[in-house]
């Protein structure tokens, strides 16, 4: 029995298409090192939210800003750090998306999904850098 590790340390443009491609690259590499379809689902969900939020809310898709993506992954663990060049935000101020009045709002669902699927979700103080982690 053995295991492969895979990692990435890359700056990407603040473009949704580039973000989508980055997400797929990560998902494909996790598959390659042995993650199965259903375990991958939650990781895919969380990393998609993390990267798309950085591009959309953080860098506001600005052509002058980049998103820094770091991944460290093995068959037993997944770690992602996403840092944008935006002003950050206060995650505790994001309304609970499961409250009846917010249910159809959309906002907050990404954070909730990350918290559900990951073992650890941690923003830096400024709120422009996010680390998520999951063990298997």
């Amino acid at each position: 029995m053995g295991s492969e590790t895979w990692g990435l340390d890359q700056y990407i443009a603040s473009d949704m298409r580039v973000g989508n491609a980055m997400v797929m690259q990560i998902v494909e590499n996790l598959q390659r090192i042995g993650w199965g379809e259903s375990e991958l689902f939650g990781v895919h969900m969380a990393l998609e939210e993390a990267i798309i939020n950085a591009i959309k809310h953080g860098n506001k898709e600005s052509a002058n800003k980049e998103v820094h993506v770091c991944v460290e992954a093995s068959l037993h663990s997944f770690f992602l750090r996403v840092t944008d060049q935006g002003d950050g935000f206060d995650p505790s101020a994001v309304p609970d998306c499961t409250l009846d009045e917010n249910l159809e709002l959309g906002s907050g669902r990404g954070l909730m999904l990350m918290n559900h699927y990951m073992d650890m979700v941690q923003y830096n103080e400024q709120g422009n850098s996010l680390e998520i982690r999951k063990s298997r």
């Binding site: 689902f41 969900m45 998609e48 939210e49 499961t98 249910l103 959309g106």
Partner: protein
């Protein structure tokens, strides 16, 4: 007939049965197109019944889910009805976690959904 790029449309009784073409619904441009194509369904007759069969969907991002919420609202506003069916266990879990299972009418399969339309 309109040409669709992200959805497949068929009729069963008086229900419009919709399937999504992508098995991973995550590309932002595809989601935008899918959104437009789903919205075009709300411009139909009053009381329009739409069943979205998610059978082939292995992944859908929250941006994609947002489109389904808009569809649900618009269809409701136009006096229509939306049901979802054939969710994979993983996709169903997303609806449970986010409590969107209280917003959507989720059925096991097409037959059950069609029967539920009554």
């Amino acid at each position: 007939m309109t040409e669709f790029h992200c959805i497949k449309l068929s009729r069963k009784n008086d229900v419009s049965v919709v399937r999504l073409i992508d098995d991973r619904v995550m590309d932002s441009e595809r989601i935008a197109v899918m959104g437009k194509e789903l919205m075009s369904l709300t411009e139909s007759e009053n009381g329009h019944r739409v069943l979205l069969n998610l059978g082939n969907v292995r992944f859908l991002s929250s941006a994609a889910i947002n489109k389904l919420i808009v569809l649900e609202k618009r269809l409701g506003a136009a006096g229509g009805y939306l049901k979802l069916s054939n969710l994979s266990p993983e996709v169903e879990e997303v609806f449970n976690i986010t409590q969107l299972d209280s917003v959507f009418d989720i059925c096991d399969d097409e037959d059950q959904a069609i029967a539920a339309f009554g």
